[in-house]
Amino acid sequence: MTSLAFINELMGMPGNASAHGYQIDHIIEFCHWFMGALFVGWSAFFIFVLWRFRKSRNPVASHEGVTSGISTHLEFAVVLIEAVLLIGFAIPLWAKRVNAFPDNKDAILVHAIGQQFNWNFHLPGPDGVFGRRDAALVSNSNPIGLDPSDPASKDDLVVMGELHVPVDHNVIIELASKDVIHNFCLPSMRIAQDAIPGLIIPMWFKPIKTGTFEVVCGQLCGLGHYGMKGTLVVDTPDEYQAWLKERIELSGNQSAPPAPGAVPPAGAPKTANPGGG
C-alpha cells in the first residue's frame, strides 16, 4: 500500500513495517495537513493584522472591530474536519486494533512479561498450549514463574529480550508485567500497549518487512527505564523455523529440574542493558 507521508517524512518519521501501519501514518499525516493549514492561515492573518493595525499606521482604533461572521464559518470548518478525522479514521482504526483480532489459528501467539528492565517472552512450544504461570514460583532460574507441574509447560519456551516472528504473519502478544507498568512499544510497527501488573492485555500486528527492530519501554519503570530495550526480529519463514528449532533444542538440553522454562544460557540473544548505570 503506497503511503501518503509527505510531512511525516519531512519530520523524520521512520518507515512503517506493519500491515496496518500506513493507516496510522495517514491519520498523523492528515492531522499535520489540517494543523498546517490552520497555522498558516492564522499566521498570515496575524502578521497582516499586526502590520496593518499598528499604532503608527492606524492611530484611531475602531470600537466595533470585525462585524462579519467569518469566524463562525471557520469554526464550523474545524468542527467538520475534526468530525471526519474522528468518525472516518480514528474510531474505525481503533476498533480494528482492539476488536478485530485475528483468529488464534492464523497467528503467532506470544506472551510478553515485563520486568525491571527487560522483556521475557513466553512461547507455547510445539504443543501450542501455554503452561500455567504463578508469581509464587518466580526465581532466578524461572523468571516468569512457569509451573513445572503443568504438562503444558513442559515444551514451553522462555526467551529474554529478543523475539523472533515470521514476516507476513499475524502476531498476537499478550502483555503482562511482574512489577511496575511498562509499555511494549514498537515504533516501526506503529503499535504500543501498556503492560500493567495484575492485567493481561493483548495487542496484535502483522509485520510486512524483515529486519531487526527496537522495542521501546514506553512507560517510566524505574532507574533503568532508558535501557529497557527489547529486540524484535522479523524473519523469513525459513529463518523463523530455524530459530524456533534452535530454541527448542536449547530448551531440551536443559532438562534437569527445576528448569523447564529456564533461559537458555548458551547462545542466548543479547539482552537489553539492564540499566543501573
Partner: protein, 624 residues
C-alpha cells in the same frame, strides 16, 4: 461581610493614627498578612522562585541529555557534595537523580510555579481590585491558603535532602512504581522522597482548595455596585472558572494521594495488585488493588489542571490585548461562554491520557469525541483574540509583546494536540518528545508568557512604578527565540520515535541515530540544551528589572496604561481596603475608542451619558 469586618477591625485597632497600616509590624504586614494584595505578592515571589528552581532542574537534565554520563564541571561536584553521591556521583548524574529531577521539574513547575503565580498571585492581587471589592471574602482563609502552600513547597524541597533523594516516579507518580519506590534497605517510613512528595502534595491541594473557595465566594459576593456578571473583565471570568476546576477536581486526587500514602506507610494495597514480584522477590503485600485506579483519579484532576494552567493565562492576555489594541475584546459573550464550556468539558476528557492502558472502542470513542469537542471552545477563544486585533491601534508595549507572542505559541501547542487526541495516532506518538513539545508550547511560551505579560502590566498598580521598557524587550526577544529553539526540534525527535524520560538522551537507541534535518535525533539534544541554558541567561534582565524597578522604576500615575477596568481607579499601590470610595460600575469592561469621545478609553466608573450611543452590552441598564 467577613472582608469588610476585617477591614473595619484593622481600622478600629489603629483609629488614633493617621497611617494605620504602617503601624502593623513587619511580620503582620508582610508575613502573616490577611491583605489580598500582600498575599498575592507573596504568592508571586514564592511562585517565581519555584519557577526558576524548576527551570534549574531542567537545565541540569539538559546537561545529561546533551552529554550523557559526562561530568558536569563545578556544579556537578557541588551538587554531589550537597545531596550525596546518589545525585551527582563525582559530578556525573545518576539515573535515580535524573528521574528525581524529571519528577520534581514537573511537580514544581505545575503545582509550585504556574498555579501559584497564574491563579493564586494574579487572582489574589487583581480579582478583588477588578470587581471593586475591599478584600477577599475570607481574608484569614486566604492567609491559611498561602501558608499551606508555603509549607507544602518546603516539604517538597526538603525531600531532595533525604536518603535516596526526591520522588522519582514522574510527576504523575504512577503506581506500582511510586508505591514501591525508595523501599530498599534503610527505608524510613516518612523521610523518603515519595512519601514526602505525597505529604507535600496534600498541603498544596489544601492550599488550592482554600484559595478556590475564597475566589468563588469573593466573585459572587463582593462585586461592586453595578458590576453585573456581564460587566466582569474576562480575566475575572477566567479565574472564576479556574476556581471551580480546582474545587471540583482536586478532592478526588487528594483522596487518591491519601490512599497512596496509606499504601506506603500503613500497608494497604489500594493500587497494588496481587502477585507483584520486584527484583526477583515476591513483594509482601495484601494485594487486590488496581494500578489503573490511580491513573483515573490522577487524570481526573490532571486534565482540568491543564485548564487551570491555561485559563488564567488567557484571562491576562485578554486584558492586555484589549488595553493595547485600544478596542473592546471581540466576542466577549462567546469568550465567557467558551470559558464555561471549557471548564465543564475538561472534566470528561481525562482518559485521553490513558489511551494505551487497554481501552475498548466504546470508551475510547467517548473520550475521543469529548476531546474533539473541547477543542471547539479553545478555537473560539483563540479566534476571538486574533480577531480582536483587527481594527485596533496596536501599541507594542512590553506586556503586549508577551501577549502577542502568546497567541501563535498557544496555537502551536493546541494544534499539535490534535494527533494526540486520536488514540490511533497516539499509538505512535504516545510518550514521545512530540508530547513533551505539545504541552510545553501550551504551558511554557503559552502560560509563562502570559504571566510575564501580567507582571509587566500590573507592576505599576502594585508598586506605583513601571518596569523598564528597554530591558523588558531585552527579556522578551531572546525568550521567544529560545522557547522555540527548545521545543520545535522536540517535534522532530518525537516523530523519530524518541521517548521521554530517557536518562541517556537516546544515545543507546538506534532509532535516535536516524538523521532528521541534518542531525541525528540524539544530536538534536545539544542545540536544545544550549537554547535552554541561553534561555536561563535571558531571564537575568527580567530578574534585575523586577527588583530594581520596585524602588527605582519610573514613577507613574494610577492609570499608566489608560485602561478601563476598576483596578486602575485605585491608588497605586492600593491601600488596605483598596478604594478611597466604593467604586460603582456603569458599563462593560472594555469601552475603548467609543465614538465621539475625546479620549480613547472610558472607564467602567464613568456614568453613561444620555446622548451616548448604546454600547453593545444589552444589560447596561440593569443594576446589581
Amino acid at each position: 461581610m467577613d472582608a469588610s469586618s476585617s477591614v473595619s477591625h484593622a481600622a478600629h485597632d489603629h483609629h488614633d493614627t493617621a497611617h494605620e497600616h504602617h503601624e502593623l509590624g513587619f511580620f503582620r504586614k508582610y508575613v502573616f498578612s490577611t491583605d489580598h494584595k500582600v498575599i498575592g505578592l507573596q504568592y508571586l515571589i514564592t511562585g517565581l522562585i519555584f519557577l526558576f528552581l524548576g527551570f534549574c532542574l531542567m537545565m541540569l537534565m539538559r546537561w545529561q541529555l546533551a552529554y550523557p554520563g559526562k561530568e558536569l564541571p563545578v556544579i556537578g561536584n557541588l551538587i554531589g557534595r550537597m545531596l550525596g553521591p546518589g545525585s551527582m556521583n563525582n559530578g556525573v548524574m545518576t539515573p535515580e537523580f535524573y528521574n528525581s529531577l524529571g519528577a520534581m521539574h514537573g511537580t514544581i513547575m505545575i503545582f509550585l510555579g504556574i498555579v501559584p503565580v497564574a491563579f493564586a498571585a494574579f487572582g489574589n492581587f487583581v480579582v478583588p481590585l477588578q470587581i471593586g471589592a475591599p478584600d477577599m471574602t475570607f481574608p484569614k482563609v486566604n492567609m491559611a491558603s498561602y501558608q499551606a502552600f508555603f509549607v507544602g513547597g518546603m516539604i517538597m524541597l526538603i525531600s531532595f535532602f533525604v536518603p535516596g533523594g526526591a520522588a522519582k516516579g514522574g510527576w504523575t507518580s504512577y503506581t506500582p512504581l511510586a508505591d514501591i519506590a525508595d523501599k530498599g534497605p534503610g527505608y524510613d517510613v516518612i523521610f523518603n522522597g515519595q512519601t514526602l512528595w505525597l505529604i507535600g502534595f496534600i498541603l498544596l491541594i489544601t492550599s488550592s482548595l482554600l484559595g478556590a473557595i475564597n475566589f468563588i465566594a469573593t466573585i459572587i459576593q463582593l462585586r461592586a455596585k453595578g458590576m453585573t456578571w456581564m460587566r466582569l473583565p474576562f480575566f475575572v471570568w477566567a479565574q472564576f472558572v479556574t476556581a471551580f476546576l480546582l474545587l471540583l477536581a482536586f478532592p478526588p486526587l487528594e483522596s487518591a494521594i491519601v490512599m497512596q500514602l496509606m499504601d506506603r506507610v500503613a500497608g494497604t494495597s489500594f493500587f497494588l495488585p496481587t502477585g507483584l514480584v520486584v527484583n526477583g522477590t515476591a513483594v509482601s503485600i495484601s494485594g487486590g488493588g488496581s494500578p489503573l485506579l490511580w491513573q483515573h483519579l490522577f487524570w481526573f484532576l490532571g486534565h482540568p489542571e491543564v485548564y487551570v494552567l491555561i485559563l488564567p493565562g488567557m484571562g491576562i492576555v485578554a486584558e492586555v490585548i484589549a488595553n493595547n489594541t485600544r478596542k473592546p475584546l471581540w466576542g466577549y459573550k462567546s469568550l465567557v461562554l467558551a470559558a464555561l464550556v471549557l471548564g465543564f468539558l475538561s472534566f470528561i476528557v481525562w482518559a485521553h491520557h490513558m489511551w494505551l492502558t487497554g481501552m475498548g472502542t466504546a470508551v475510547s470513542a467517548f473520550f475521543q469525541t469529548t476531546t474533539m469537542i473541547i477543542s471547539i471552545p479553545s478555537v473560539i477563544i483563540l479566534s476571538a483574540f486574533f480577531i480582536s486585533l483587527w481594527g485596533g491601534s496596536i501599541r507594542f508595549t512590553v506586556p503586549m509583546l508577551f501577549a502577542t507572542a502568546f497567541l501563535p505559541m498557544f496555537g502551536i501547542g493546541g494544534l499539535t494536540g490534535i494527533p494526540l487526541a486520536f488514540n490511533s495516532a497516539d499509538l505512535y506518538l504516545h510518550d514521545t518528545y512530540y508530547v513533551i513539545a505539545h504541552f510545553h508550547y501550551i504551558v511554557a511560551p503559552g502560560t509563562i508568557f502570559a504571566v510575564f505579560a501580567g507582571i509587566y502590566y500590573w507592576f505599576p498598580k502594585a508598586t506605583g512604578r513601571k518596569m523598564n521598557d528597554f530591558w523588558g524587550k531585552v527579556h522578551f526577544w531572546p525568550s521567544l527565540i529560545c522557547m522555540n529553539a527548545i521545543f520545535l526540534p522536540m517535534f522532530l525527535q518525537g516523530m523519530l520515535g524518541m521517548h521521554r524520560r530517557w536518562y541517556d538522551g537516546g544515545e543507546g537507541w538506534t532509532l535516535a541515530s536516524e538523521k532528521v534535518w541534518g542531525l541525528s535525533g540524539f544530536h538534536w539534544n545539544l542545540p536544545i540544551s544550549i537554547a535552554a541554558w541561553t534561555m536561563g541567561v535571558a531571564q537575568i534582565p527580567f530578574i534585575i528589572n523586577f527588583f530594581w524597578s520596585i524602588r527605582h522604576g519610573q514613577k507613574v500615575g494610577i492609570n499608566p496604561w489608560e485602561a478601563t477596568t476598576l483596578e486602575w481607579t485605585a491608588p497605586s499601590p492600593p491601600p488596605h481596603g483598596n478604594f478611597l470610595t466604593p467604586p460603582v460600575a456603569y458599563r462593560g469592561p472594555y469601552e475603548y475608542s467609543l465614538p465621539g469621545r475625546a479620549k480613547d478609553f472610558t472607564m467602567q466608573t464613568e456614568p453613561v451619558e444620555p446622548n451616548e450611543r448604546a454600547p453593545h452590552e444589552p444589560a447596561m441598564s440593569l443594576s446589581h
